[in-house]
């Protein structure tokens, strides 16, 4: 007797679910990171940086809008970008765990931003050739924004790392504390494998060394030390989050939850 195989419609359903999930992971990573950067508005160390961080946040939220809208359409359950952003609970969010980590000091925020900018650079560049042309088009737009984001974050990383003793120490501390979340960036699971097999996404295995090389280049310029690789217990993409996401969502979703459908 042959092993049981999925009936074609089951296979299609599993493929579609993986597709939705993949787009949601990209969307939520941008959304959550954008929301975190938004927390700096009015608090950044200089007016110019305040605007700079807000610009990054708006780019990221713009990416999230395009991706969430697309995820909602793929899902076919009538959820639009707002329903997905404001009416899901933390376990339904699929962002990378790194994106939800609190801002900490400015150096900490810069490290988080730079690690994710370098990740998005590889992902979006890889998606340009996606068999999913809609996703490819979104990636093309996002890639331009991300090039600037990386210019901004790597510039600051180098300034702070190669700056005063205090700035060096703070940014190294940020790196040491956030590094444990980076193993999730390129750890492929069954969603990634399905997407790679369908030529919708690039193989994460091939992107990881490019990311790593960029990271090492920037770290060398910043005179910072790359922390040792750490085990991989973080699964934000699967909906298993650190405690920080729930607190962030409480603030982000408060208005829509309290006054459903409110407009201004």
């Amino acid at each position: 007797m042959s092993a049981r195989r999925d009936a074609p419609n089951e296979r299609d359903a599993a493929q579609q679910a993986a597709h939705v999930r993949y787009v949601l992971r990209l969307a939520d990573t941008s959304l959550v990171l954008g929301q975190r950067l938004g927390e700096w508005v009015g608090h950044a160390p200089a007016l110019e940086e305040d605007l700079g961080l807000a610009n990054l946040a708006l780019d990221l939220i713009g990416q999230a809008r395009l991706l969430l809208t697309y995820a909602g359409e793929l899902e076919g359950r009538g959820r639009d970008e707002d329903a997905l952003a404001f009416l899901r609970d933390a376990p339904d969010f699929a962002n990378l765990t790194l994106a939800e980590q609190p801002n900490g000091d400015f150096g900490h925020t810069i490290v988080r931003q730079w690690l994710l900018d370098a990740w998005q650079l590889e992902i979006y560049a890889g998606l340009l050739r996606s068999a999913d042309t809609r996703l490819g088009a979104i990636a093309a737009k996002a890639l331009k924004e991300t090039r600037y984001h990386h210019r901004f974050s790597s510039g600051w990383l180098i300034r702070l790392g190669d700056g005063t003793a205090e700035s060096h120490e703070r940014v190294q501390a940020g790196l040491d504390s956030l590094w444990r979340f980076t193993a999730e960036l390129f750890a492929a699971d069954e969603v990634d494998e399905r997407m790679q097999a369908a030529a919708i996404t690039p193989a994460l295995m091939e992107l990881a060394p490019r990311w790593s090389a960029r990271i090492d280049e920037d770290l060398a310029a910043a005179t910072l030390k790359r922390p040792a690789a750490q085990p991989y217990p973080w699964h934000g993409r699967r909906g298993v989050h650190t405690e920080h996401l729930g607190h962030m969502l409480a603030e982000m979703q408060h208005l829509q939850r309290t006054y459903p459908g409110v407009r201004w």
Binding site: A46, E48, L51, Y148, G155, R159
Partner: protein, 94 residues
Amino acid sequence: MSEDWPLYEVFIRSRSGLEHKHVGSLHAADARMAIEHARDVYTRRQEGVSIWVLRSADITASDPEEADALFEPARDKVYRHPTFYAIPEEVKNL
């Protein structure tokens, strides 16, 4: 932090073919940061396609006290304006 940074003057070219125009100033640690700040502060609404930045300290300005000596003498020399030429009908865009 920004008080420690020198002041830069920002010039933006709004479209190819036009000149860079002074739009304002900002603080930055160096020229690279000044370009990034100028991008973030002054081109948020698609105001430009090119940015120049210049340390404010590197600008030499005329002395307002000398305005009379510098600019008054031109006042009574209207013949310097090219308004005394008859323009032929055929010339449309002068």
